[in-house]
């Protein structure tokens, strides 16, 4: 399931809802991304996330479908916030539930790696010297590219 929203989310409640009455689930892997203090080397107090609404849901659903085609997953949840977020605020949640931990761990990592390089979001930070668009990071592309090389876990 994909949700794009301005509101915060409750990690515990989301994980609970994901596994409730699903007795075949033995493992849940959750990734939470937060606004941190030095994303670009300069002190950050807040950021604004802009996105391309018509494309975002489409792209996130495509990424979810790709994960489901690679691993046997019981549940997938991606929540991505947009709008203005302050230091320490939650930005993104990826939660994957499966019978076994390997699938949950690998799919969670796959999803966050692809989100970083494929989901049409742009971050503008507020710094002491004014607003500043966050540049894409080459290492994110490299991490995502690992998954194109083979079906399972990259080295």
């Amino acid at each position: 399931m994909i949700r794009v929203q301005t509101e915060d989310f409750d990690v515990g409640r989301e994980v609970e809802a994901l596994t409730k009455d699903r007795p075949g689930i033995g493992a849940v892997c959750v990734f939470v991304g937060l606004v941190r203090d030095v994303a670009t080397g300069e002190a950050t107090c807040a950021m604004t996330l802009e996105h391309y609404p018509k494309m975002t849901t489409k792209e996130l659903e495509r990424i979810e479908a790709e994960a489901r085609s690679r691993w046997p997953l019981a549940e997938v949840l991606v929540i991505h916030r947009h709008g203005r977020l302050e230091l320490g605020d939650r930005i993104v949640l990826v939660a994957v539930a499966s019978a076994h931990r390997a699938a949950a761990l690998e799919a969670c990592e796959f999803l966050i790696d692809w989100l970083k390089t494929q989901a049409p979001f742009w971050k503008q930070e507020e710094t002491a010297s004014g607003p500043r668009w966050v540049d894409a990071v080459a290492s994110d592309d490299a991490r995502a590219a690992r998954w194109t090389k083979k079906k399972d876990r990259p080295s």
Partner: protein
């Protein structure tokens, strides 16, 4: 054809979107970029460094040789920084 801009392409062009009717010689994303860059100083600045620009045609990532036609929605934006 509808053009939409995000992040600093939106700031430099001063536009969130615009409706355009490029000449028939504009057949793909690359041709569209070249043509759009002539529309204003802001457009020229927005499209100054092609390597920093990504495009989507009808909400799907598209390379420079992807065809464009009347009725398409073409988006321009910097490399994404979500997650």
């Amino acid at each position: 054809m509808k053009i939409v801009y995000f992040a600093w392409l939106r700031e430099r062009t001063g536009l969130t979107e615009e409706d355009v009717a490029p000449p028939a010689t504009v057949k793909d994303v690359g041709g569209l970029v070249t043509w759009l860059a002539t529309r204003s100083d802001g457009h020229a600045r927005a499209f100054a460094v092609p390597g920093q620009i990504r495009a989507a045609v009808n909400q799907e990532y598209a390379s420079l040789d992807h065809p464009v036609a009347a009725g398409d929605e073409v988006a321009f934006f910097p490399p994404v920084t979500g997650g």
